[in-house]
């Protein structure tokens, strides 16, 4: 991540590099310029020195020296006389001596030659190595052409002999009345011979045209790397003509080396300054980036704090606000200004009291003092504000004396909590107390009875025909009915009484009986009266009744569960006595009821506890004398022993438990029959209640589908009463099942109306002749025999099988066979057997039948 921090740092580094480069460049330019300037100054200075030395000192003095020497030689009497005499030979002979005197008399003058001339310019004699050729210096013409006063004058001339300058002084001989002239030719360089010493540097002379090196003074040679400052001037003769060029050079390395030092020091200094600046800038940048990072973190922290649902506030040891989020003042309706850092807790609490959100009580000052007491340990307090909000305030002390408070608006949580508590104790549909709350109230009430001798009644209500309303008008209408019932019940009780819904159509009333139990009866009557009035449910006038069972405390017990159970027993009795009544629990009366009640409870549990079992009794085809099917018969294996169907089936039918039990029987029979040989059918008894229940056809189909048993192997045995009760609906169901392939047999034929009309109405597959006829076959009057014969004949003519039930002897078997019954069943062949023995039974019976045959 290229952060602003990195960017800043790179910017600083880049700026530093650029500044360094620029500064270095500037330094180099400045110092180079300075160096050049110094060099130029050196050169100029040298020029000046050279000029001054040559012009002012050496040159003129030398000319005078030569002039003095010429005067001395001209005053020599011998020379003077010989010139006057005009004797060249004698003069030439005398000249060496004069030369010698001249050469030694002045060490300052380098005498190169002497020429003696007559006054008219003719040369009389000459001496020395230099003698001017007319081309270089026409001495005769110069002398001869002078006239008047000029002839008296001394003439100084510089000329070039083979490029070399020669200084010649022509001096008159004979004073102001000259007889001739003497000319001295000298080397002018002599005049400058000390120049090197005077200037302290090498001086070299060149001809004017620079072609010839005339002389070099001084023996200094510059070092190889020496820095030289040079100067050159043209030296002019007395007649202002250029004579030669003098040049000097000196080593300025030492001075220049100081330049290097200056540059080095400047550079070092500059680097130092820039480094310092860079360090300072970097430090500043780092500080800035840290500052930025700090501010970012701070901002994030602030955002996080301000987006909390809680109010947060931190105080220091002096109870002043250090920091708080926006939520904090907003919770108490304070302006942010009132909680800015530095504000004291006292002020804030004062504002809160002033704004009216706190119940400050009668003495606000005391309240205030209490609220601003120092915090020494963490605590959580819950405050209810005047507007109903509930605030949980948690304080946690911090090291150093301050503390942090968290203010949490728990109004909603409280509301939900109370709602949950309410829901746990109330019925969702009617909002009446539920069984739990009723038990609690009962517990409280009974706890009080011991001391206050207060009596209580527990009414247990059960709506009559509620199931019918549910089934015919649907559950929504059923629910609406329950609500209306709850309303009516609420109207007829005292405030101290509790109406509860226990579930389904069961209600209960806990009634206090300050005076006598008569009040309980009065309430029960009132309730019966009220609930017997029709209810208007969305335009449906519905009338339900109720039955009430009442138990009394403390005489019937002080345990809530026990009381409820006794009320339930009384209710049970009320319902069995006749609906629309109430019964008060009576121990003796309810004993029998209790047994029945217990049996019902046990039967409900039997299905769950897997206590039911099917036994099978074989049906024998009398034509082939072989097993053609089994009738499934229900057994209840109770812990205290097996119970026969007759002892519990009526109760099951009465309570409606027959429906789930019947379903189980159907599924179980189908599943077990599937394991038998494929020609063997299974016959299952169907009770009227089961048959009339919704979805019976579906139940049969499911049982067949789940087991995989073909419909043709299932035989449903129905009683005649079923067909009689609701002929149309029953016949429709029978028809549907018959169309599926299920066989239908008419059970216990002959015991009821035995209406032949019914036989016509539906094509039963089989008629089962009740066992009572078979038992009576041996009776002398022969009625039974006639009936059996008639039914068998009837069956044969209608195309139905006939089965004789309860065959117990060989004689009975022979008789029913003789009368034309097609099948039989009974103890003679086999009693009902558990499912696990059926396989064995089929095998042995096949053998036995074979033997019989």
């Amino acid at each position: 991540m290229m952060t602003s921090r990195h960017k800043l740092l790179w910017t600083v580094i880049a700026s530093y590099a650029i500044a360094l480069a620029v500064a270095t460049g500037c330094l180099l330019i400045v110092t180079s310029g300075y160096e050049v300037a110094v060099e130029n100054a050196e050169d100029l200075q040298l020029d000046g020195i050279l000029n001054r030395q040559v012009d002012d000192l050496a040159w003129h003095r030398y000319a005078e020296n030569v002039s003095d020497l010429a005067r001395d030689l001209s005053q020599e009497p011998k020379i003077k006389a010989l010139v006057a005499a005009g004797d060249p030979a004698a003069l030439q002979a005398a000249l060496p001596q004069t030369w010698h005197r001249g050469a030694v008399s002045s060490s300052d003058v380098e005498l190169l030659g002497v020429t003696v001339l007559r006054a008219d310019g003719t040369i009389l004699a000459r001496q020395g190595s230099v003698s001017p050729a007319p081309a270089d210096f026409d001495i005769q013409t110069i002398v001869s052409q002078r006239d008047g006063i000029d002839r008296l004058k001394i003439l100084t001339q510089v000329w070039l002999s083979q490029g070399r300058p020669i200084l010649t002084v022509i001096h008159p001989i004979g004073g102001l009345r000259p007889v001739g002239y003497i000319a001295l030719h000298t080397d002018p360089l002599r005049a400058l011979s000390t120049l090197d010493q005077q200037m302290g540097m090498v001086v070299s002379f060149r001809s004017v045209d620079h072609a010839t090196q005339l002389a070099s003074l001084g023996n200094w040679k510059p070092e190889k790397d020496a820095r030289l400052s040079t100067a050159a001037i043209t030296i002019l003769g007395p007649d202002k003509r250029p004579v030669m060029v003098a040049s000097v050079a000196r080593d300025v390395s030492a001075r220049m080396s100081t330049m290097h030092e200056i540059r080095l020091w400047s550079f070092t200094g500059l680097i130092g300054i820039l480094t310092a600046v860079a360090l300072a800038t970097t430090a500043l940048a780092l500080m800035l980036t840290r500052r930025i990072a700090f501010e970012e973190a701070n901002e994030r922290c602030k955002t996080a704090m301000n987006n909390m649902s809680q109010g947060l506030c931190m105080f220091d040891a002096q109870q002043r606000v250090v920091v708080c989020n926006e939520r904090y003042p907003a919770m108490y309706g304070l302006s942010p200004e009132m909680t800015k850092p530095g504000t004291t807790l006292r002020d804030i609490v004062g504002h809160r009291i002033a704004s009216g959100v706190y119940h400050a009580g009668s003495n606000p000052e005391n309240y205030l003092n209490e609220r601003v007491a120092p915090i020494t340990q963490g605590s959580t307090q819950v405050h209810e504000l005047t507007d109903g909000r509930v605030i949980s305030i948690t304080r946690k002390p911090m090291p150093g004396g301050g503390w942090v408070t968290t203010h949490d608006d728990i109004t909603e949580i409280r509301r939900i909590e109370s709602r949950i508590v309410h829901m746990a104790h109330h019925d969702a549909l009617t909002d009446l107390p539920n069984r739990t709350l009723l038990s609690e109230r009962l517990q409280q009430a009974l706890g009080g009875t011991g001391h206050g001798h207060q009596s209580w009644a527990v009414h247990m209500l059960d709506l009559d025909r509620f199931k019918e309303v549910n089934d015919t008008l649907g559950h929504p209408v059923g629910d609406a009915l329950l609500k209306k019932v709850a309303e009516r019940l609420g109207c007829c009780v005292k405030e101290t009484d509790t109406v509860a819904r226990l579930g389904g159509d069961e209600f209960a009333i806990l009634q206090s009986l300050p005076n006598s139990i008569v009040e309980a009866e009065q309430l029960a009557k009132r309730v019966l009266e009220l609930l017997s009035q029709p209810f208007d449910l969305d335009g449906h006038p519905v009338t339900v009744g109720t039955s009430i069972g009442i138990a009394l405390a403390p005489q019937d017990g002080t345990d809530p569960d026990q009381l409820l159970k006794k009320a339930d027993l009384a209710l049970y009795r009320a319902k069995s006595v006749g609906r629309g009544t109430f019964q008060i629990f009576e121990a003796a009366l309810d004993e029998r009821m209790q047994a029945r009640y217990n049996l019902e409870r046990a039967l409900r549990d039997a299905l769950v506890k897997d206590e039911l079992e099917l036994y099978y009794q074989p049906l024998i085809n009398l034509e082939y004398d072989e097993i053609c099917g089994f009738e499934a018969l229900l057994r209840w294996n109770r812990p205290e022993g097996q119970m026969a169907p007759l002892d519990f089936i009526p109760l099951a039918e009465e309570t409606g438990l027959i429906v789930p039990i019947g379903d189980w029987v159907l599924r179980q029979a189908c599943a077990e029959a599937k394991t038998w040989p494929s020609h063997i059918k299974v016959a299952v008894n169907v009770s009227p209640a089961q048959f009339k229940s919704r979805g019976f056809v579906q139940t049969v189909l499911h049982a067949l589908a789940a087991s995989g048993l073909p419909a043709q192997r299932l035989e449903l045995e129905v009683t005649e009463s079923l067909v009689l009760e609701d002929s149309t609906g029953a016949f429709t169901t029978l028809k549907q099942l018959h169309d599926l392939g299920v066989r239908i047999s008419l059970d216990d034929f002959g015991t009821g109306y035995s209406s032949l009309t019914n036989l016509r109405k539906f094509p039963f597959d089989k008629i089962k002749i009740d066992r009572s006829f078979v038992m009576d076959l041996a009776v002398a009057n022969g009625d039974a025999l006639a009936i059996v014969r008639a039914v068998a004949t009837l069956g044969a003519s209608l195309g139905m099988s006939t089965t004789a039930e309860g065959v117990e002897t060989k004689e009975q078997l022979d008789q029913v066979r003789a009368e034309g019954c097609t099948e039989m069943q009974g103890y003679y062949i086999s009693p009902p057997r558990p499912a696990r023995e059926i396989g064995h039974l089929i095998r042995t019976m096949t053998d036995k039948a074979a033997n019989v045959a």
Partner: protein, 148 residues
């Protein structure tokens, strides 16, 4: 403003002082006059003409002996001006007060010739010549000198 005026006043005073001192030094270090009353001032050319046309010309070199010995005008006699204490000194060299006589020294800056000339005139010499510019002028004109 008063201060500025005072400043100007002081400046003016100082300038006056400088001018005064300059003038004084001029007076003190004043060169000898080019003209001496009763004498005729000549240049180098005039000297040569006198020498060549006046055989009885007395040439008096008023410089020191050392100067005289290092080179003087041909025919000159060395009499330092300070030695001219009496007429007799000059009379020993010049034949008469009517005889021509020439004085020279190292020029107006030297001043010895001026004094000598003035004395000669004072003593009654009638043909007094004064070579005011003296030896420097002589040398500059490249005229020859002689040594004893």
């Amino acid at each position: 403003m008063a201060k500025a005026r005072l400043g100007f006043g002081a400046l003016r005073l100082a300038m006056a002082g400088v001018a005064l001192s300059f003038g004084l030094s001029q007076v003190l270090a004043q060169d000898a006059s080019m003209q001496i009353k009763g004498a005729k001032t000549v240049d180098s050319k005039g000297v040569i003409e006198l020498i060549s046309t006046t055989p009885d010309l007395a040439i008096i070199d008023n410089r020191t002996k050392a100067d005289f010995d290092s080179g003087h005008i041909e025919g000159a006699v060395n009499i330092v001006d300070s030695d001219m204490t009496a007429e007799s000194v000059l009379a020993g060299v010049v034949q008469s007060k009517a005889a021509p006589v020439l004085f020279y020294c190292n020029g107006v800056k030297c001043g010895r010739a001026a004094k000598a000339t003035a004395k000669a005139v004072g003593w009654g010499y009638s043909h007094v010549y004064y070579y005011a510019l003296g030896i420097p002028d002589w040398k500059a004109n490249q005229f020859p000198l002689v040594t004893p």
